[in-house]
């Protein structure tokens, strides 16, 4: 039996929605399922209305579903706001003692969540664990794996916290078992239990990718949705000898990264659009001084403060063009967590090989959403430090020109202090030796030298992912975190007998050669699907290929696409 179940946990900020969605997500993953969890949260610490939605599937899953099969309401308001989204056969858990809602529907289970939380868990904040226990009972899961997970999750907070959570979960579980005998709606079959697959969100995948690539220095200033990258790295600095410094602002952050990279270590920063606006001058400094710098930009809706906790793909053109002057750069935009891991590794290799900045573009949807990943392979991220020399002979090198290497654009690198040579790096236009120059000839040579690297980078850019590969009547064109939504849209359309394929770009700039164009039929209708107002990637695509795009499906309400939404719009336009 195919499994595709969506569970929504709804309540207020501060009720522990995210901790239980991660706990549940991991248990499903351990039972062999694939999970996709997205967060819909307001920018506040307490109150309001937030939810997490866990989609559990027996196939890899990268997108939200359009219906809710299980609704877990942690407060009374959640019943009112979320019940309309519940499938007609869906199951709801709510606290009838705490809400005016009355229901005759046998799938609506009133459970005294708060009372159990206070009795078994000694605090109201345990409603999340009571509800999780109840939900697991209704789904037909064993209690023990949940108790084990709670122990893992809260061990660091001490035995009492573990016990309170476990007791809460047990009370919810037992209440269901005792009171709702014989109900077996929407149960999820439990497979064998193994710790094999991983469950991680885009930020964690990026941080892991950076760490496993030999990251040595991180500097950043907190900004949603990029902060979890910094927090994960901060938690392992002692283990992997990394230095993390919280900067006074994003200007300092990128300049510290440039200093560390100039001195020869792998260095990065991460921010969102607002912080990146402040980093722009530094980005140009990295370009001019030919310093490798990796910058993650986790987009959120802008301009200015925008919608701090929501999603958008509004900064693509910005990051491609950011800074005055011309210099080479690469822009990568992973489609999901697994790709985020590998593209971070690629970002460091490109940055060091071409001695220039590389931007990895995420967004709230990618960075905060959890994905089940089968496997991450360290041996698939080779470390290429470009032209840096570490050999024994360098200690005796005396004469060295930092910006030699006109032919390929790539200068041999010796690091400051590791040889008797001295090196000059300069943000002014400079000679091969790195000194300030006003010479017109040298200016031309140096611009040519730097821009030559762009062609090298272009050759490293992977082609888009095309699926299925046969020519189709309809193409869904997308980039970055839209991957899951368009992939599933294509499956849904194909299922209905509509001939459609996905073309997804994750390595965006410099735009690579276009072998996929041979794939387009004359009458192919291309639909650009983007989380922005203007269709930023569609414009790049047209500019680079000469192919006009007449159909755009755009969304800029701060929320991610559900595949069914795209299906509907495609059908309206064909």
């Amino acid at each position: 039996m195919a499994v595709d179940v969506s569970i929504r946990i709804s309540g207020q900020a501060g009720q522990g929605i995210q901790s239980i969605s991660a706990i549940m997500g991991k248990i499903f993953t351990r039972h062999g399922y694939y999970v996709f969890i997205n967060q819909d949260a307001e920018s506040r610490i307490r109150g309001g209305h937030n939810f997490d939605q866990i989609r559990v599937k027996d196939q890899p899953v990268y997108a939200i579903g359009d219906k809710v099969d299980y609704l877990i309401c942690l407060d009374g308001n959640a019943v009112d706001s979320d019940l309309p989204d519940l499938d007609e056969n869906g199951i709801m858990i709510y606290d009838g003692e705490k809400s005016n809602f009355q229901s005759g529907n046998s799938h609506h289970f009133s459970i005294p969540l708060e009372q159990f939380a206070e009795q078994a868990g000694k605090s109201k904040i345990m409603v999340n664990s009571v509800a999780t226990g109840a939900a697991f009972a209704l789904m037909g899961f064993e209690l023990q794996p949940l108790l084990d997970r709670l122990k893992e999750e809260f061990a660091a907070k001490g035995g009492e916290v573990v016990e309170n959570n476990q007791n809460s979960a047990s009370s919810g579980y037992r209440y269901v078992k005792n009171n709702f005998k014989g109900i077996s709606a929407n149960q999820i079959p439990t497979g064998p239990f193994k710790k094999q697959k991983l469950l991680l969100n885009g930020s964690q995948a990026m941080a892991l990718g950076a760490i496993c690539s030999g990251l040595k220095f991180y500097s950043g200033y907190p900004m949603s949705p990029a902060t979890p990258i910094m927090e994960l790295i901060a938690s392992v600095t002692d283990q992997y000898n990394i230095i993390l410094e919280q900067a006074e602002d994003e200007i300092a952050a990128i300049n510290m990264v440039i200093g560390a990279a100039f001195a020869g270590v792998r260095a990065m920063t991460a921010t969102s659009g607002g912080g990146f606006s402040l980093m722009v001058e530094g980005l140009g400094l990295a370009g001019m001084t030919e310093t490798p710098a990796v910058v993650v930009v986790a987009q959120r809706p802008g301009p200015a403060t925008g919608l701090p906790t929501r999603t958008e793909q509004g900064d693509l053109q910005f990051v491609i063009h950011a800074s005055h002057g011309e210099f080479p750069r690469a822009v990568l935009a992973p489609g999901h967590a697994e790709q985020a891991f590998y593209l971070m590794a690629k970002a460091f290799n490109l940055a060091e090989s071409y001695q220039t900045p590389v931007i990895v573009l995420g967004d709230q949807h990618l960075n905060d959403s959890y994905y089940t990943v089968d496997h991450l392979a360290l041996d698939q991220i080779p470390i290429d430090r470009g032209s840096i020399r570490f050999d024994d002979q360098i200690s005796s090198v005396k004469d060295y020109k930092r910006y030699a290497g006109q032919e390929t654009g790539i200068s041999p690198r010796i690091l400051p202090g590791l040889s008797e040579a001295v090196l000059y790096a300069d943000s002014d236009e400079h000679t091969e030796a790195g000194h300030i120059t006003e010479s017109a000839d040298i200016r031309i040579r140096m611009v040519n030298k730097r821009m030559r690297k762009l062609e090298g980078i272009r050759r490293q850019m992977a082609s888009p992912k095309i699926s299925p590969s046969k020519k189709s009547d309809i193409v869904l064109l997308g980039w970055g975190s839209i991957y899951g939504a368009i992939k599933e849209t294509v499956q849904l359309l194909n299922h209905e007998g509509i001939d459609a394929q996905m073309i997804h770009f994750s390595e965006i700039f410099p735009f690579s050669a276009v072998p996929f164009l041979t794939n387009l039929k004359k009458k192919t209708k291309i639909f650009a699907v983007e989380n922005n107002f203007t269709g930023q990637f569609a414009d790049i695509f047209t500019q680079q290929t000469g192919i006009s795009i007449f159909h755009k499906i755009l969304k800029y309400d701060g929320r991610p696409f559900a595949p069914q939404e795209i299906v509907k719009q495609v059908k309206e336009q064909i």
């Binding site: 220095f217 230095i243 006074e248 200093g259 400051p416 300030i436």
Partner: protein
Amino acid sequence: MKKKIVSVQDFESDDPIAWCPGCGNFSILKALKQAFVELGKKPHEIAIVSGIGQAPKTPHYLRCNAFNGLHGRTLPVATGIKLANHDLTVLAEGGDGDGYAEGGNHFLHAMRRNIDMTYLVHNNQVYGLTKGQTSPTSGLGFVTKTSPTGSTSPQLNPLLLAIASDCSFVARGFAGEVEHLTALIKDAILHKGFAFIDILQPCVTFNRVNTFKWYADRVYPVDDGPGYDSSDRITAFTKALQWGDRIPIGIIYRQGRPTLDGQLSAITGQSLVTQQIDSESFSSIFESFK
């Protein structure tokens, strides 16, 4: 005594100097080279980060590792370099506009971090490179093209700011007192922590008020000894408040406290840059995500 293993010749650069004849920067450059020689520092052991302005051209005019970055952004770059390779002797250098206007926020936080480096501000109380605009240290009423009726804000007192920020080494030098300045720079480099020297530097072209003579008539050395206790913060505040007829030069405030680089477990052994990347070490990193 440390053996002199280097000479001034080791620090000569062939880059042609672009300063005005008679500029105070020449003496600062001389003092800097002399300090390196007397400390026995070799050119490749030093990294100077500078900003943009006339002062920040200094590292081009001597032989050492140099990163001539953006206007106002010296300190973060220098911080990154020091943390990546703490074996380097790191200095940051710039003008008063660079350090106190554009880079003011970084100055506050570098002092707070107390990273082990030396920060030299060539303070000519005017914007030199951009041809004579008002600076944060220009005197009240100072006339320039951007303040034709005279500057309306009082001048910033960098020493007071530094002492208030608990900067671990606060000094003032004068470009006209090369020997005194050389000694200050040496002390600053030897100091474990963030050492800041505000250097009074006559600008012969754009500052006709604070001339060489104006400074020379006013400066006097404070000697850190029985007469003056630089470790006393209140005394230091009082001294730093003095400006006008008499201007103190020397070490105004000094105190020992832990440095940023000294507290990081990642570099208690080798510097970061000499630690090779070992992919094997990550083999268990995914376990907690399973």
